[in-house]
């Protein structure tokens, strides 16, 4: 599974960076996120309810931030366990670029995701999981954008 995307956010880069490192923001923006806890420096644990085709489960995710270059980029490594529903693991390379906007500094967020899945997720959901993951990622980065307006 590989995918990439981008999102332009009308906020200065350091503000976007802070949001992307704030468990509360992440939790708010991730579809189905039931909890997100910081368990160490750059380490988080999350519970996410997700549905891929006929497979519906609460997944426990261990998230760690690596190769952090503040405030430009990091790699988000995720290991997801869904019990009987299987597992997923992958990483997202997130890059923030400062761009000039009409009303001041803006940020271009780009991401590249790759990962793989196993167990029931792969058995039943393999043809659906790409679309599901794409949708989840797109909604996440869209919500980050909106979150600044409402936060």
């Amino acid at each position: 599974m590989e995918q990439a995307g981008e999102s332009r956010i009308a906020q200065p880069r350091d503000r976007v960076w802070r949001a992307l490192n704030d468990p509360e923001v992440l939790s708010r923006c991730l579809d189905g996120c039931k909890s997100m806890t910081r368990v160490g420096d750059g380490e988080y644990e999350a519970e996410v309810g997700a549905k891929v085709g006929p497979v519906k489960a609460t997944f426990k995710a261990a998230i760690s931030l690596n190769d952090v270059v503040e405030p430009e980029s990091y790699r988000l490594d995720v290991e997801v366990k869904g019990g009987a529903a299987g597992f997923a693991k992958g990483s997202a390379l997130v890059n923030l670029e400062e761009v000039a906007g009409d009303d001041g500094d803006e940020t271009l967020l780009t991401y590249q995701i790759n990962g793989n899945i196993g167990g029931k997720l792969a058995q039943i959901g393999s043809r659906l999981v790409d679309a599901a993951a794409r949708k989840m990622a797109a909604r996440f980065f869209e919500r980050i954008k909106v979150d600044f307006d409402t936060a």
Binding site: G83, G86, I117, G118, G119, K120, A122, I124, S126
Partner: protein, 782 residues
């Protein structure tokens, strides 16, 4: 004698009244008081070390009765699941089988392998408990690709090169010499696609323990309950055979996948003893995909050496066979004794050499599936023959004719260890050519061409060996069990008959066919014959149903028992009629003194046997009940000609089977309607393999074709209306002169379809299954 219900009559099936009214009695229909439910926790990883399994949260889950891991079974000295056929490598060494604990202890080696089982008050409770089992896995790189498995990571500590064995059969030197003298060599590279069985009824088990008696009763979906009991008793150590009863009630299809002894029923019957309550398990379809043994999965290179006139001189076959992660119950025999031995086909090929390397991968175990080795062999031989015919511009029917073993050649010793007893291959081919209107094919092809479609015709002149035999030869070749069958004929006081057979019916219609035999032989009305099967508590030790053996072996045992009944009946009749025993004749249910009008009916003799007033008690035991064990002296050799005609749409790659003819020689036929049904089912599965079905793992070892969204079963609209016909050369060594018919359809048809598809496209090969995309690419030369 062809009465309306005797041998040769298309009697409607006794079984169908209950099946079509939903009154069948399947394992999952049976419930015991106080029953609990088992759910297996299965590995999502194709290969991982188990660092620990934490069952605390699962055990604390509401309604969970118990949680067991592999360690719990090991602590009770529950043994590994064994493989029952010891194959030896070329160098004389024994095959290498890794330990196969029913519930994984140290490592998991395929997606779906169970590592814990949760017993719940309800199914839901057990499922909730299963969700709460927390295992610490250390993932390891999976070995998935069969072609490179021998040089990949070593899966099992005890298995170097992931190799089970490297086996050979035939004369290598003579075969090499044949190739040296050949005018032409045809080469094919073949992948025989992995299939997932998909019996309509998933596997199930209900285990019960009677603490007072110390006995276990296991209801399960087994094709051979005695084998199940033997393995659970002697190898797995659940309980001694005498304290373990295994019952296979109605079973909805097996196709081989229910021969094997699996982890689930093993754990269920053991757990019933641990929790002292009945334990029920039924596979969900997703589990069936993961954990039923799969079929086929070979990679082969084969070469046929020919003389200028198209005579076959030699055949060389080199195969890699996928065993999956463990060696299942009969896995080792499938690509060897049920495969290499069939490479002569219907032909006089004088020199044959077969090499088979069986390898482990991190995939579900692979074992017998309808045809078991013989479809793979037929595919090799018939693809080679068709390829040679095209390369040498010889008509495909003609090249076969030039090489057929002739009716006068029997018994015929092949260079690959079998002795064919009888056959007339040209008779079947001729009949099939007539049915398909071979002469008119050119015109039909031209008509398709002008409509923008490509038409092709493909042949498959298959032979198969079924009713595996004889015991002594098989045991000397590594079989761990005998190959006989038991039949018991119990005549009731009033002359009705109860037959107890060790064969098991899960679609084969024993209740009808065996009743026809009894009705025919004893003159008892068909409706007065009841056939019992599938219960170790009712029948003597027997081998059950696999390899198209039920009629040829199980039916022969019943005939032997029937002969004993008639012999004893003659003694009783002679006494009553005050005649000599050797003056007695028996026909149409009546004992008659030769050349007289003195006679007595079968029910009268039965009554005399059980109410022995006028009866020679001093020299004859009362009662009329006989049993026979029948050990077949040889395989039976069904053979036939399948011809497939296809139309391919080159723009979409869709293959339309426009005509399919199967002419089979099954020897004498007891019930033509049932035989035709068996052929239809086999053809559907063989065509399914050719065009639709494919068990696929991704390169990390995840099963991608794990549901009906991704695994394509053949449906009615994928299939034409078949033309099915027979020829008859009676088997020479069993009393009914019958061969087997259960697998032939699946054995012959696949090669015929693929020969037709390649003919239509004018290409050397198309990978199986020939899906629209595959065909579309092949048509474009990709």
């Amino acid at each position: 004698m062809a009465s309306e219900t005797g041998i040769g009559a298309s009697v409607k099936r006794k079984e169908d009244a209950r099946f079509i009214t939903g009154a069948g009695n399947y394992t999952d229909d049976i419930n015991a008081a106080g029953q609990t439910y088992a759910v297996f926790v299965r590995s999502p990883y194709p290969r991982a070390k188990i660092n620990g399994v934490d069952t605390a949260a699962a055990a604390a889950t509401d309604g969970v009765v118990a949680v067991f891991t592999g360690a719990d079974l090991a602590a009770d000295e529950i043994g590994d699941l064994p493989c029952g056929w010891l194959v030896k490598s070329k160098d004389g060494s024994d095959m290498v089988a890794p330990p196969h604990p029913p519930i994984a202890t140290q490592a998991v080696n395929y997606v779906g392998e169970p590592y814990a089982v949760v017993i719940g008050e309800t199914l839901e409770a057990a499922k909730n408990g299963a969700e709460a089992v927390d295992a610490d896995f250390e993932e390891l790189p999976a070995v998935v690709d069969l072609a490179t498995a021998a040089s990949a990571d070593q899966i099992h500590e005890s298995v170097p090169n992931n190799q089970a064995y490297d086996w050979e059969l035939g004369d290598k030197a003579a075969t090499d010499a044949a190739f040296d003298n050949a005018d032409h060599v045809a080469t094919v590279d073949i992948v025989n696609n992995r299939l997932i069985p998909n019996a309509i009824e998933p596997r199930a088990a209900l285990g019960e323990y009677d603490a007072a008696a110390g006995t276990y009763t296991l209801h399960t979906t087994s094709q051979n309950p005695h084998l199940e009991r033997l393995v659970l008793a002697a190898f797995v150590n659940v309980a001694p055979e005498a304290r373990l009863r295994v019952i296979s009630p109605d079973v909805g299809g097996g196709f081989g996948s229910k021969i094997f002894v699996y982890a689930e029923e093993t754990a269920v019957i053991w757990a019933a003893g641990k929790v002292r309550r009945p334990v029920k398990w039924r596979a969900e379809r997703s589990e069936s995909f993961l954990a039923d043994c799969h079929g086929r999965d070979h990679v082969t290179t084969a070469q046929l050496a020919l003389a200028q006139d198209g005579k076959f001189l030699g055949l060389r076959v080199k195969t890699k066979a996928n065993m999956g992660a463990y060696l299942s119950t009969f896995a080792s025999s499938v690509p060897t004794y049920l495969y290499g031995t069939l490479m002569a086909g219907q032909y006089t090929t004088p020199a044959i050499y077969v090499e088979v390397q069986s390898l482990y991968t991190n995939t579900a175990p692979v074992d017998a599936y309808r045809g078991a080795g013989r479809p793979e062999a037929t595919y090799v031989v018939e693809r080679c023959v068709e390829t040679a015919a095209r390369e040498m511009s010889i008509d495909p029917a003609e090249i076969r004719r030039r090489n057929f073993i002739q009716p006068g050649d029997f018994p015929y010793d092949t260079p690959v260890a079998l002795t064919y007893d009888t056959g007339d291959y040209e008779a079947s081919l001729d009949k099939a050519l007539e049915h398909i209107d071979y002469a008119g094919f050119g015109a039909r092809r031209a008509a398709s061409e002008s409509a923008g479609r490509k038409r092709g015709i493909g042949f498959s002149c298959y032979i198969e060996a079924c009713g595996l035999a004889p015991s002594q030869v098989a045991i000397s070749l590594g079989a761990g069990v005998g190959l006989f069958e038991v039949g018991e004929v119990r005549v009731d006081v009033t002359g009705s008959v109860t037959v107890v057979t060790g064969s098991h019916s899960h679609g084969q219609s024993h209740e009808t066919t065996f009743a026809q035999i009894i009705s025919d032989k004893l003159g008892v009305p068909f409706e007065n014959v009841t056939v019992l099967h599938g219960d170790t508590g009712r029948s003597d030790y027997a081998l059950g149903t696999y390899g198209s053996r039920s009629l040829a072996v199980g039916g022969s045992a019943i005939i032997s028992a029937t002969d004993k009944i008639i012999a004893k009946g003659k003694k009783i009749a002679a006494h009553i009629l005050e005649a000599q025993e050797d003056q007695m004749e028996f026909a149409d249910g009546t004992f008659t003194v030769v050349d007289s009008n003195q006679s007595i009916t079968f029910p009268e003799v039965a009554f005399a046997a059980y109410v022995p007033q006028n009866y020679p008690l001093e020299e004859l035991e009362p009662g009329l009940s006989e049993k026979a064990f029948y050990d077949p002296p040889n395989f039976t050799y069904p053979a036939g000609a399948h011809i497939c005609e296809v139309e391919v749409d080159p723009d979409t790659g869709v293959v339309d089977i426009v005509d399919f003819v199967a002419v089979d020689d099954f020897g004498h036929v007891v019930n033509p309607m049932i035989v035709e049904g068996q052929v239809h089912g086999g053809l559907a599965q063989g065509i399914g393999q050719a065009l639709l079905e494919h068990g696929v793992y991704d390169d990390t070892g995840q099963l991608l074709s794990g549901s009906y969204m991704d695994y394509t079963m053949p449906r009615a609209d994928d299939l034409p209306s078949f033309t099915v016909d027979t020829t008859v050369t009676p088997c020479t060594h069993n009393p009914l002169g019958v061969k087997g018919c259960g697998e032939a359809g699946a054995i012959g048809s696949t090669a015929a379809v693929m020969n037709a598809v390649t003919d239509a496209l004018g290409v050397a090969s198309v990978p199986m299954p020939a899906t629209p995309e595959t065909v579309w690419r092949a048509a474009r030369g990709e």
